[in-house]
Symmetry: C2
Subunit: 281 residues, 2 copies
């Protein structure tokens, strides 16, 4: 029997419900016997907005990342709080941490960015255990497990090509990393961006910010993921999210490459940072 | 009779109601005979979210700024849209523009930042005509007119000292300028920050961003203005805005200097960028 892949789950931002963790564990046992999950108890801690205070979240992230018996770190949930973990934790990662896969999106993009900026090559943007609670969320979680377990090629965002470096971020998360030590070098990368629950004017402002950064202007192009649950803009913004990203691409000289199959939803595909490493055949 | 100060008003973001402009004109005529106001018709134009399309807002801003017969440019209202004006307009300002006073806050901080970054020395953060619609808004508008008309010393934020450089910004606006060519050099400046209508977790995230920028870490310190109309945080954030700014000051090594008398309200005091130029005795 082949060795099962050991995945440690921590929550650097908001808290994950124990019932959600149980449902993910059951789904993994049923459909993905090649993966063994360990939900760190920190996932279920609570301190104001966060899944435990900063010290607890930093400690759990370091414990799982630096433990050579885990093959992957899976972020349990986004929400908010990764930026309070990154600064203190990233400099303390060891060689075992460097060899791991890291999977998450949304707020946890702060850590994905910081890891990638530090030269980690197993970083990927994709579904998290918390997606289990979405409509059809089992498909999202199953996709993540198939990627973690055996790099299943059909889990990847369909425009991804082995010859081209790619990254994916929530817009506001990338925006809030610009000009900080966590901003990765995205030269020649296809940059995929998605958003959720932000008004159109905020999407416009965030794209102004991202595309005005001189380093970001070195990307190969931008692909627009889904912008979902957009609150009403008062007055009506008068432009769609596609028109907005096309505007800022035109202003900044960045090629607009079309849509990306990512977003805050069950269809969210996997985007490995850099050039993808997929299963053969 | 002394020459009246001519103030041109444009709206680089959202639209200003004509009734508001009329009320401001009446108040100026009554209480500030040393100031003559000209509301550019662009203030009342409408194009989706904005007070006219980008071209109209750029043209009006340049027309008033580059006209030597105006002594000051007063931004009529914030809202959103200054970032769509800045890039195209700022490089086209002439010497007449360089000698003017510019007054506004909130979204128009994008232009204040860009002007200050270009070495303009008449830039100030303070009330706008749109404040007339607030409770007690006539006091805010009157304060702005007293500053524009004769640099009245009692209009200034009380901690401002002639020996110390100061700037003021809405947090999210400064955050969205970081790492762009509009980010001014704030070395040795007291940085005053205020916010409105942002949840606590967003205030926290924005302060992470601002205080993580290496150039911002060169400020003399941060003073916290008012954070008003904060929507409910779910779950409760567990920290006040003062605790949040103290946290990020501690992490970044930036001195926390206490509160600032600025905010999205009628009490909003004037903060001239750089060292203040006030009326004598």
């Amino acid at each position: 029997m082949m060795r099962r892949l050991r995945v440690g789950i921590v929550a650097p931002g908001s808290r994950l419900e124990p019932t959600t963790a149980r449902r993910v564990t059951e789904l993994a046992a049923e459909r993905h016997p090649d993966v063994e999950l360990y939900f760190h108890p920190q996932c279920h801690m609570s301190s104001g907005h966060f899944a435990g205070d900063d010290a607890a979240r930093i400690a759990a992230f370091l414990e799982v990342s630096n433990d050579a018996s885990f093959d992957a770190v899976w972020f349990g949930r986004g929400g908010y709080g990764s930026c309070r973990v990154a600064d203190a934790a990233l400099p303390k990662l060891n060689d075992a941490a460097r060899r791991k896969t890291y999977l998450g999106y949304s707020d946890t993009g702060v850590l994905l960015a910081g890891l990638y900026a530090q030269g980690f090559r197993g970083v990927a943007h994709g579904p998290m255990p918390a997606d289990m609670t979405r409509d059809g969320g089992d498909a999202a979680v199953s996709r993540a497990l198939a990627y973690l377990g055996h790099r299943a090629a059909d889990t990847l965002e369909p425009s991804i090509a082995p010859s081209r470096k790619t990254v994916a971020f929530n817009m506001i998360i990338l925006s809030q990393l610009i000009g900080t030590p966590l901003q990765p070098d995205l030269t020649d990368h296809v940059l995929m961006l998605e958003e959720v629950s932000e008004q159109m004017y905020r999407i416009d402002r965030t794209l102004f910010h991202i595309t005005s950064n001189p380093a970001i202007r070195g990307v190969a192009g931008i692909r627009l993921g889904r912008c979902s649950a957009i609150p009403r803009n008062e007055p009506d913004f008068g432009q769609t999210e596609v028109e907005i990203v096309q505007h800022w691409c035109r202003v900044s000289g960045i090629p607009y490459l079309g849509r990306a199959d990512i977003g805050h939803d069950a269809a969210n595909k996997i985007v490995p940072f850099g050039a993808p490493r997929v299963a053969e055949g």
